[in-house]
């Protein structure tokens, strides 16, 4: 491992140790924050007893569904917008300001349209993630070097071959960024929707523990969610770095 990684580990470990010390010494009241070791122990207990397995699986399934539909839909919409510049020019300010709109406000409407259950939550996750994918697809398609497209024309490549051999590989880094953001936003959307509005899932479990003053359980669940999201993101980050490195070498 490189020096930077070690320093990073040391920083994170130091922060955790400081937190632990502050909690144990009573500097931070136990009603505000429980020590990280207690969070970890409670989380392990929760996982072992299996009482949150159903919530966990449910959240993961919803995130996965939101992610897959958002990546496919966002890519499709991005391609369409790229092919129609006037439409794109008009739609862009809306896309750029999209994330300031509280999508959750539409949840009651979504329940009526899609029924109770997981579908409205998946739709919120999708709505959250799809725009990041659209914007990055547009970015990626913009960055295709003109020379390559011209070369393709000179070589008389068909539209399908051009798309598969030139457009897709050139846009790939941006598409990857979009995918990465879509993962993050699917998590954010699904968990936030569960948190505010739903009656099941990890987000709900946290809010339930909070409302019942069950601080230890709440922090354990928070730790679980955070670890889960960071693990997924780190996996994507490492994968991306590897892809980029391979590209530079080639």
């Amino acid at each position: 491992m490189s020096r930077v990684t070690w320093v990073r580990l040391a920083v994170v470990a130091g922060a955790l140790a400081a937190l632990e010390a502050a909690c144990r010494s009573g500097l931070i009241s136990p009603h505000t924050l429980v020590p990280p070791s207690v969070m970890l122990a409670t989380a392990a207990k929760l996982l072992q007893s299996g009482e949150i397995t159903a919530d966990l699986l449910r959240t993961l399934r919803n995130v996965l569904a939101a992610f897959v539909t958002a990546v496919a839909g966002g890519f499709f919409i991005g391609v369409v917008l790229h092919a129609a510049p006037p439409l794109r020019r008009v739609a862009y300010p809306f896309l750029a300001s999209y994330y300031a709109i509280p999508v959750f406000a539409l949840y009651p409407a979504l329940i009526v349209v899609f029924g109770m259950g997981d579908l409205p939550i998946i739709v919120i996750g999708f709505l959250f993630a799809v725009v990041a994918m659209i914007i990055n697809t547009l970015d990626g398609l913009d960055r295709i070097p003109r020379v390559l497209l011209k070369t393709a024309r000179v070589m008389r490549m068909g539209p399908v071959a051009t798309a598969l051999r030139i457009k897709l590989p050139s846009a790939a880094p941006h598409l990857f960024t979009g995918t990465k953001l879509a993962v993050a936003y699917s998590f954010i959307g699904v968990i936030a929707a569960e948190f505010i509005l739903s009656g099941a899932g990890l987000g709900y479990a946290i809010s339930y523990a909070y409302n019942n003053f069950n601080t230890a359980r709440m922090y354990a669940l928070m730790l679980l969610v955070i670890t889960l999201v960071i693990a997924v993101n780190l996996a994507f980050y490492t994968w991306e770095q590897r892809l980029l490195r391979r590209r530079n070498l080639r």
């Binding site: 930077v4 320093v7 990073r8 920083v11 994170v12 009603h31 505000t32 924050l33 006037p86 439409l87 020019r89 008009v90 739609a91 862009y92 300010p93 809306f94 750029a96 300001s97 999209y98 994330y99 300031a100 709109i101 509280p102 959750f104 406000a105 539409l106 949840y107 009651p108 409407a109 329940i111 009526v112 349209v113 953001l181 993962v183 993050a184 998590f187 954010i188 968990i191 936030a192 948190f195 505010i196 987000g203 946290i206 809010s207 909070y210 601080t215 709440m218 922090y219 669940l221 928070m222 969610v225 955070i226 999201v229 960071i230 993101n233 780190l234 980050y237």
Partner: protein, 245 residues
């Protein structure tokens, strides 16, 4: 210019038509029609009580934006200039960015208590990371020739930051601020939705509880209109800055 306006108009008309269509499909319980929503929005706009909530939300938003932008700039500048800390912090910041921050809301409430400070903290928490990341990357990728020229001309370290690094990084930093603007607003609103007795987020949640679809949609419409207008202005400034370089 006229053509541009026409395009925007057509787009809005298409959106409204889509909305009307959804309304016809799903009925009164789920959505209110564009016409009803516009009327409800008008009613809100002339009501004195509505503006009290608006003021509440926007003062929280103002503080949060100030903290997020200022803190993010300072942090990003520091991390961008110091290579090792930047490399150490980047993945941590990226993970922080992708966290469902709403899970941290109980923590914020326990630390700051109910009320204004919790909202501000939550909004700032949403906004600070993108500014930091954009600013850090912008500072890192400043053309080395500028820095070399500065060194040759014996520009002092402080002057280097203000006369070379910041102006060169400005377009990227501005893009970061634009993202920060949207996310901070969202953060403040979510904060109000979950635990607050005042503000637009509270109004929405209250209306959701009362199943007052019209009000929910009217407030969302007004917020969306504000966000889109503000973002269009920022986007225009952003494009201009990027073109200048």
């Amino acid at each position: 210019m006229i053509r541009r306006a026409l395009e925007v108009f057509l787009f809005l008309a298409a959106l409204t038509a889509l909305w009307q269509l959804l309304y016809l499909v799903s009925g009164d319980v789920a959505l209110s029609s564009p016409r009803d929503t516009a009327i409800a929005a008008m009613e809100l706009l002339i009501a004195e009580s509505f503006w009290r909530h608006v003021r509440e939300t926007f003062s929280a938003f103002g503080y949060a934006l100030f903290i997020a932008a200022g803190g993010g700039l300072a942090l990003g500048l520091g991390l961008g200039l110091h290579r090792l800390s930047g490399a150490v912090a980047e993945p941590i910041l990226v993970s922080l960015y992708s966290l469902p921050k709403i899970t941290l809301y109980p923590l914020i409430l326990l630390v700051f208590g109910l009320g204004m400070s919790a909202k501000v903290a939550f909004g700032a928490l949403h906004g600070i990371v993108p500014v930091t990341l954009f600013c850090m990357n912008a500072v890192r990728t400043v053309n080395p020739a500028y820095l070399k020229t500065g060194r040759i001309m014996r520009v002092s370290r402080g002057a280097m930051v203000f006369t070379i690094v910041l102006p060169a990084a400005l377009p990227e930093v501005f893009s970061g601020l634009r993202v920060c603007f949207s996310l901070t607003l969202l953060g403040v609103l979510i904060g109000e939705m979950f635990a607050s007795q005042r503000g637009l987020g509270f109004l929405i949640m209250n209306a959701v509880g009362l199943h007052d679809v019209r009000t929910v949609m009217a407030i969302t419409l007004l917020l969306a209109a504000f966000a889109v207008c503000a973002n269009s202005v920022l986007l225009m400034a952003d494009l201009r800055l990027h073109r200048r370089v």
